[in-house]
Protein backbone atom coordinates (compact mmCIF):
# COMPACT_ATOMS: atom_id res chain seq x y z
CA UNK A 1 0.00 0.00 0.00
CA UNK A 2 1.46 3.31 -1.13
CA UNK A 3 -0.93 6.22 -0.78
CA UNK A 4 -1.20 9.98 -0.61
CA UNK A 5 -4.35 11.00 1.20
CA UNK A 6 -6.05 14.23 2.20
CA UNK A 7 -8.17 12.78 5.01
CA UNK A 8 -7.05 11.35 8.39
CA UNK A 9 -4.86 8.25 8.08
CA UNK A 10 -6.54 5.03 9.19
CA UNK A 11 -3.61 3.49 11.05
CA UNK A 12 -5.36 0.20 11.76
CA UNK A 13 -6.04 -0.25 8.09
CA UNK A 14 -2.38 0.36 7.19
CA UNK A 15 -1.25 -2.22 9.76
CA UNK A 16 -3.80 -4.73 8.50
CA UNK A 17 -2.55 -4.24 4.94
CA UNK A 18 0.90 -5.66 5.83
CA UNK A 19 -0.32 -8.53 8.02
CA UNK A 20 0.74 -12.00 6.99
CA UNK A 21 0.72 -15.41 8.70
CA UNK A 22 4.49 -15.53 8.09
CA UNK A 23 5.13 -12.20 9.81
CA UNK A 24 5.92 -12.36 13.50
CA UNK A 25 6.74 -8.66 13.70
CA UNK A 26 5.12 -5.47 12.49
CA UNK A 27 7.09 -2.26 13.09
CA UNK A 28 5.33 1.05 12.57
CA UNK A 29 6.37 4.68 12.41
CA UNK A 30 3.83 7.40 13.06
CA UNK A 31 4.84 10.97 12.18
CA UNK A 32 2.73 13.31 14.29
CA UNK A 33 2.21 17.06 14.14
CA UNK A 34 4.03 18.65 17.10
CA UNK A 35 2.90 21.81 18.87
CA UNK A 36 6.29 23.51 18.78
CA UNK A 37 9.22 24.08 16.44
CA UNK A 38 12.21 26.40 16.41
CA UNK A 39 11.13 27.80 19.77
CA UNK A 40 7.70 28.78 18.51
CA UNK A 41 4.21 27.49 19.15
CA UNK A 42 2.82 25.73 16.10
CA UNK A 43 -0.91 26.11 15.54
CA UNK A 44 -1.13 23.73 12.58
CA UNK A 45 0.81 22.49 9.56
CA UNK A 46 0.15 22.52 5.86
CA UNK A 47 1.68 19.77 3.71
CA UNK A 48 2.05 20.16 -0.02
CA UNK A 49 3.12 17.37 -2.39
CA UNK A 50 4.14 17.01 -6.00
CA UNK A 51 1.63 14.17 -6.01
CA UNK A 52 2.58 11.98 -8.97
CA UNK A 53 6.30 12.22 -8.26
CA UNK A 54 5.84 11.74 -4.51
CA UNK A 55 4.03 8.51 -5.19
CA UNK A 56 6.72 7.36 -7.65
CA UNK A 57 9.45 8.08 -5.09
CA UNK A 58 7.55 6.23 -2.35
CA UNK A 59 7.19 3.20 -4.64
CA UNK A 60 10.97 3.30 -5.22
CA UNK A 61 11.69 3.38 -1.48
CA UNK A 62 9.37 0.43 -0.93
CA UNK A 63 11.14 -1.51 -3.68
CA UNK A 64 14.58 -0.75 -2.22
CA UNK A 65 13.49 -1.91 1.22
CA UNK A 66 11.97 -5.11 -0.16
CA UNK A 67 15.26 -5.85 -1.95
CA UNK A 68 17.34 -5.19 1.14
CA UNK A 69 15.38 -6.97 3.88
CA UNK A 70 13.26 -10.14 3.85
CA UNK A 71 9.90 -8.46 4.39
CA UNK A 72 6.36 -9.74 4.15
CA UNK A 73 4.70 -6.38 3.74
CA UNK A 74 5.47 -2.65 3.60
CA UNK A 75 2.99 0.20 3.50
CA UNK A 76 3.51 3.97 3.38
CA UNK A 77 0.69 6.48 3.67
CA UNK A 78 1.35 10.24 3.64
CA UNK A 79 -1.26 12.87 4.24
CA UNK A 80 -1.29 16.35 2.67
CA UNK A 81 -3.26 19.52 3.25
CA UNK A 82 -3.98 21.10 6.63
CA UNK A 83 -3.11 19.00 9.69
CA UNK A 84 -3.79 19.83 13.32
CA UNK A 85 -1.50 19.17 16.29
CA UNK A 86 -1.61 15.47 17.20
CA UNK A 87 -2.64 14.27 13.74
CA UNK A 88 -0.54 11.81 11.74
CA UNK A 89 1.16 13.16 8.66
CA UNK A 90 2.85 9.92 7.68
CA UNK A 91 2.36 6.33 8.76
CA UNK A 92 4.63 3.41 7.85
CA UNK A 93 4.08 -0.27 8.61
CA UNK A 94 6.63 -3.00 7.92
CA UNK A 95 6.09 -6.73 8.48
CA UNK A 96 8.81 -9.36 8.72
CA UNK A 97 9.33 -12.78 10.28
CA UNK A 98 11.47 -11.34 13.08
CA UNK A 99 11.64 -7.85 14.60
CA UNK A 100 15.15 -6.76 13.61
CA UNK A 101 14.35 -6.60 9.89
CA UNK A 102 11.07 -4.77 10.48
CA UNK A 103 12.72 -2.15 12.74
CA UNK A 104 15.64 -1.55 10.37
CA UNK A 105 13.50 -1.34 7.26
CA UNK A 106 11.00 0.99 8.95
CA UNK A 107 13.81 3.38 9.92
CA UNK A 108 15.25 3.23 6.40
CA UNK A 109 11.86 4.08 4.91
CA UNK A 110 11.22 7.17 7.04
CA UNK A 111 14.81 8.45 6.76
CA UNK A 112 14.81 8.06 2.99
CA UNK A 113 11.32 9.48 2.60
CA UNK A 114 12.37 12.65 4.43
CA UNK A 115 15.11 13.37 1.91
CA UNK A 116 13.73 12.18 -1.42
CA UNK A 117 9.94 12.38 -1.52
CA UNK A 118 8.79 15.79 -2.79
CA UNK A 119 6.49 16.82 0.03
CA UNK A 120 6.97 20.12 1.88
CA UNK A 121 5.48 21.45 5.06
CA UNK A 122 4.57 24.94 6.09
CA UNK A 123 4.52 25.70 9.79
CA UNK A 124 1.79 28.04 10.93
CA UNK A 125 2.26 30.07 14.12
CA UNK A 126 0.02 32.58 15.82
CA UNK A 127 2.03 35.37 14.23
CA UNK A 128 2.96 33.99 10.84
CA UNK A 129 3.94 31.03 8.73
CA UNK A 130 7.04 29.66 7.07
CA UNK A 131 7.89 26.92 4.57
CA UNK A 132 10.32 24.41 6.07
CA UNK A 133 12.76 23.65 3.29
CA UNK A 134 16.03 21.78 3.43
CA UNK A 135 18.41 24.48 2.24
CA UNK A 136 22.01 23.81 3.06
CA UNK A 137 21.29 20.21 3.97
Amino acid sequence: MIELVTTPIDREQVVRSVASPQAGAVATFDGVVRDHARGKSVTHLYYEAYPEMAKTEMVKIRKQALERWPLHGLAIVHRTGRLEVGESSVFIAVASAHRADAFEACRFVIDTLKTSVPIWKKEHYRDGEVWIEGYGA
Binding site: E48, Y50, K114, P118, W120, W131, E133, Y135, G136, A137
Partner: protein, 84 residues
Protein backbone atom coordinates in the same frame (compact mmCIF):
# COMPACT_ATOMS: atom_id res chain seq x y z
CA UNK B 1 8.74 24.39 -28.21
CA UNK B 2 6.26 24.13 -25.39
CA UNK B 3 7.12 22.89 -21.90
CA UNK B 4 5.11 22.82 -18.71
CA UNK B 5 6.71 24.12 -15.52
CA UNK B 6 5.57 23.06 -12.07
CA UNK B 7 6.48 25.00 -8.93
CA UNK B 8 6.07 24.07 -5.30
CA UNK B 9 6.25 25.48 -1.78
CA UNK B 10 8.07 28.85 -1.54
CA UNK B 11 8.69 28.95 -5.30
CA UNK B 12 5.02 28.70 -6.00
CA UNK B 13 4.45 31.56 -3.57
CA UNK B 14 7.05 33.71 -5.38
CA UNK B 15 5.48 33.14 -8.79
CA UNK B 16 1.90 33.06 -7.61
CA UNK B 17 0.92 29.98 -9.58
CA UNK B 18 1.79 26.29 -9.51
CA UNK B 19 1.89 25.65 -13.25
CA UNK B 20 3.14 27.74 -16.12
CA UNK B 21 3.26 26.78 -19.78
CA UNK B 22 6.13 28.35 -21.72
CA UNK B 23 5.88 28.15 -25.48
CA UNK B 24 9.07 29.87 -26.59
CA UNK B 25 11.76 27.45 -25.42
CA UNK B 26 14.38 26.87 -28.15
CA UNK B 27 15.03 23.21 -28.98
CA UNK B 28 18.08 21.85 -27.16
CA UNK B 29 17.61 24.06 -24.13
CA UNK B 30 18.64 22.59 -20.81
CA UNK B 31 16.64 22.58 -17.60
CA UNK B 32 18.93 25.37 -16.36
CA UNK B 33 18.21 27.51 -19.42
CA UNK B 34 14.51 27.01 -18.87
CA UNK B 35 14.94 28.14 -15.27
CA UNK B 36 16.77 31.29 -16.37
CA UNK B 37 14.02 32.01 -18.88
CA UNK B 38 11.46 31.72 -16.11
CA UNK B 39 13.58 33.84 -13.77
CA UNK B 40 13.60 36.68 -16.32
CA UNK B 41 9.83 36.81 -15.90
CA UNK B 42 9.97 36.27 -12.15
CA UNK B 43 13.25 37.76 -10.84
CA UNK B 44 12.31 36.72 -7.30
CA UNK B 45 13.24 33.17 -8.29
CA UNK B 46 16.92 33.97 -8.82
CA UNK B 47 17.97 33.82 -5.22
CA UNK B 48 16.68 30.25 -4.91
CA UNK B 49 18.60 28.82 -7.86
CA UNK B 50 21.62 27.30 -6.10
CA UNK B 51 19.55 25.41 -3.57
CA UNK B 52 16.91 24.09 -5.94
CA UNK B 53 16.25 20.64 -7.28
CA UNK B 54 14.88 19.91 -10.72
CA UNK B 55 12.77 17.04 -11.98
CA UNK B 56 11.95 16.32 -15.61
CA UNK B 57 8.81 14.27 -16.17
CA UNK B 58 8.68 13.47 -12.46
CA UNK B 59 12.21 12.07 -12.20
CA UNK B 60 15.07 13.84 -10.42
CA UNK B 61 17.27 15.30 -13.12
CA UNK B 62 20.49 17.20 -13.80
CA UNK B 63 20.42 20.90 -14.62
CA UNK B 64 22.21 20.24 -17.89
CA UNK B 65 19.62 17.78 -19.12
CA UNK B 66 18.13 18.85 -22.43
CA UNK B 67 14.39 19.20 -22.36
CA UNK B 68 12.00 17.99 -25.04
CA UNK B 69 8.70 19.35 -26.33
CA UNK B 70 5.90 18.64 -23.90
CA UNK B 71 8.19 17.88 -20.97
CA UNK B 72 7.00 18.60 -17.45
CA UNK B 73 9.80 20.43 -15.64
CA UNK B 74 9.49 20.90 -11.90
CA UNK B 75 11.62 23.25 -9.80
CA UNK B 76 11.42 22.84 -6.08
CA UNK B 77 13.18 23.36 -2.78
CA UNK B 78 14.95 20.45 -1.09
CA UNK B 79 12.63 18.34 0.99
CA UNK B 80 12.54 19.49 4.59
CA UNK B 81 14.26 16.51 6.16
CA UNK B 82 13.48 16.98 9.82
CA UNK B 83 15.50 16.02 12.85
CA UNK B 84 15.95 12.28 13.23
Amino acid sequence: MVVKICLFASLRDVVGQSEIVIDSVPPGNTALQVFHRLARRFPGLRRYRKALLVAVNQEYSDWDQEVSPGDEIAFFPPVSGGAA
